[in-house]
């Protein structure tokens, strides 16, 4: 088994995919860093201050004014009310919700890349793990060895999990280094609030607790990793089922993008919450924003994703061990 995994790792590294992914992440992080830098600057110019309390107070007043507009969808209104209450809570407790520095940038980067960007990077590796063996014809060589088929597949799957761990680590390290060069490397100990509870009546702040940034980030990373593993397993399954890598990627891509669109409009279609792609934004639960469908919470989303993950693995192994290879 060890040898098999090493063999798979060797193939993965020889393909230089990880380097490509690291490059993509690096370029994107640079773009985001610059965009963020610009945003901070224009804000400073507009308000004539860099005092975060003033900026936050101004944001609160602006949101209040937007809320007073009558032409506003109820959904959107509720979202705004929740974020308003949260901002006021931060202000009342004298805690900066966006302490400047690389750790905050990492947090924002993770939170916004969890449902599309990181899964896409994972797909680059996962979607042709099996199907490329078909197209290259090397599957026959692999399967003629005196090794059980499920072992071959398992070694591939373990390699995938390791690669995903590396991708998450790469995105963390790169975003820290690149944004740190602009915003400074400090801020690991900055306080952050978590435990906001979104209920039907609005925001419940009774369970809010104070946490250090590094712990919050570790938790965020764990959630991103879990999402990446689930998405990776699903595209792994497709790579077993569909011989063409492009077709498998297309299916997965369509699912991910539909998820991003659906989260904006499914609030009235309740059974949509069992789809995996609406459950990808796990970090939002830590931050305390309203879920796309009422009644969703962290454990619900994790269970849904877990079921999808288990089903994907079952199908992959079942099909791979039974399939005729020619």
């Amino acid at each position: 088994m060890n040898k098999l995994i090493q063999n798979e790792m060797m193939k993965l590294i020889a393909k230089k995919r990880l380097i490509v992914i690291a490059l993509i992440i690096g370029v994107l992080v640079m773009l985001f860093t610059y965009a963020q830098y610009k945003q901070v600057q224009t804000q400073r110019e507009k308000l004539g201050t860099s005092d975060w309390r003033t900026i936050l107070q101004q944001q609160i007043v602006d949101t209040t004014n937007r809320l007073s507009s009558s032409r506003m969808q109820d959904e959107w209104k509720k979202q705004l009310q929740i974020s308003l209450k949260q901002q006021q809570y931060y202000l009342d407790h004298d805690i900066n919700p966006a302490e400047p520095g690389a750790p905050t940038f990492m947090r924002v980067f993770l939170e916004s890349s969890i449902d599309l960007f990181i899964p896409l990077m994972v797909m680059v590796i996962a979607s042709d793990l099996v199907s490329s063996e078909h197209s290259l014809g090397s599957i026959k060589l692999l399967l003629t060895r005196p090794v059980k088929r499920w072992k071959v597949l398992l070694s591939k799957y373990i390699t995938l999990c390791l690669a995903i761990s590396l991708i998450i680590a790469i995105s963390g390290i790169l975003s820290y280094l690149i944004s740190g060069a602009v915003f400074g490397f400090k801020g690991w100990g900055a306080p952050i609030l978590t435990g906001f509870n979104v209920t039907e009546s609005g925001l419940n702040t009774s369970a809010v607790k104070l946490m250090s940034m590094w712990r919050f980030l570790l938790m965020d990373f764990g959630l991103v990793w879990f999402v990446a593993i689930v998405v990776g397993s699903l595209s792994f399954m497709l790579s077993v089922l569909i011989r063409s890598t492009a077709a498998g990627m297309g299916v997965m891509l369509a699912a991910l993008i539909s998820g991003a669109i659906l989260t904006n409009m499914v609030s009235s279609w309740e059974s949509a919450k069992y789809l995996f792609m609406v459950n990808l934004r796990l970090t939002d639960y830590m931050k305390g924003t309203a879920p796309p469908i009422e009644g969703m919470n962290l454990s619900f989303s994790i269970i849904v994703l877990f079921v999808w993950w288990a089903a994907a693995l079952f199908v992959s192994f079942f099909v791979f061990t039974k399939k005729d290879v020619y």
Partner: protein
């Protein structure tokens, strides 16, 4: 390909895998952890004065402060800011805390907020507009302005105004406070004359309240809108338009000293 490289990459990947697993575990654990650690309450306004460059202006009040009706979105506050920047050749910072539809009662609550207090504390100039929503109540004021009710509303309003000024003065003894008076947007209507009487009465009482405090200046606007009111009103026939705001801004600008 070197075997050791592959082995070390694998080991690193395994370590990260474990780290992320710990993260996931603590996320789930933390989300359902029973008792939250107490979040420290801070109600003290930090006395630390930041190094200020130039003037600081804080605007409080209702939609007039917000600039509703002005196509440029500035309102009299924004126009005033531009003028100050131009004339004094110094940078000026504006914090606009105006909220559409705010009544004196809501303003009373707003000035009690810690952060709002801190903003007032560092201000050089405070601008206030309030009372329009108390008196007119989105047009309802047109029908019941003669009844006894209006007297009760006014009493409440004056009380709130006094409290607001007290709060401002408590936070900041030095700043010049400009309180912008009411105008009568309905002056051209049938009952405009009688309505004007009520507005003048409110303005008089507001000026009296202002006069009780040092450096709180009542700025009348009633006369600005007395002739040709429709020229200076926005399409909603209630808020000033760009021209109307310019009139107010010019009047306040003429009172500024530095």
């Amino acid at each position: 390909m070197n075997k050791n490289v592959i082995r070390s990459i694998t080991v690193i990947a395994v370590l990260f895998c474990l780290l992320w697993l710990i993260g996931l575990g603590s996320a789930v654990g933390e989300y359902y952890a029973g008792k939250p650690a107490k979040v420290p309450e801070t109600n003290t306004v930090s006395k630390k004065v930041e190094n200020k460059k130039g003037l600081t202006i804080v605007a409080l009040g209702d939609s007039l402060t917000r600039g509703t009706g002005d196509e440029t979105g500035k309102g009299y506050v924004g126009m005033l800011l531009d003028e100050i920047k131009e004339k004094s050749k110094r940078p000026a910072q504006l914090t606009n805390l105006g909220i559409n539809g705010q009544t004196s009662n809501q303003l009373r609550k707003q000035v009690q907020q810690t952060e709002v207090g801190r903003q007032i504390q560092k201000a050089d100039i405070v601008l206030v507009t309030i009372g329009g929503n108390d008196l007119f109540r989105g047009g309802q004021g047109l029908t019941d302005f003669k009844t006894k009710e209006i007297a009760a509303i006014e009493k409440k309003y004056l009380d709130n105004l006094k409290f607001t000024f007290e709060q401002i003065r408590k936070n900041n003894r030095e700043a010049n406070v400009f309180f912008i008076g009411l105008y009568n947007p309905f002056i051209d209507l049938d009952q405009g004359k009688e309505m004007s009487k009520v507005v003048r009465h409110w303005n008089y009482d507001s000026a009296e309240v202002s006069a009780a405090f040092p450096k709180i200046i009542f700025v009348p606007t009633f006369d600005l809108f007395e002739l040709k009111v429709s020229d200076y009103l926005y399409a909603d026939k209630f808020h000033p338009n760009t021209k109307g705001y310019r009139l107010i801004a010019e009047r306040v600008a003429s009172l500024l000293t530095w």
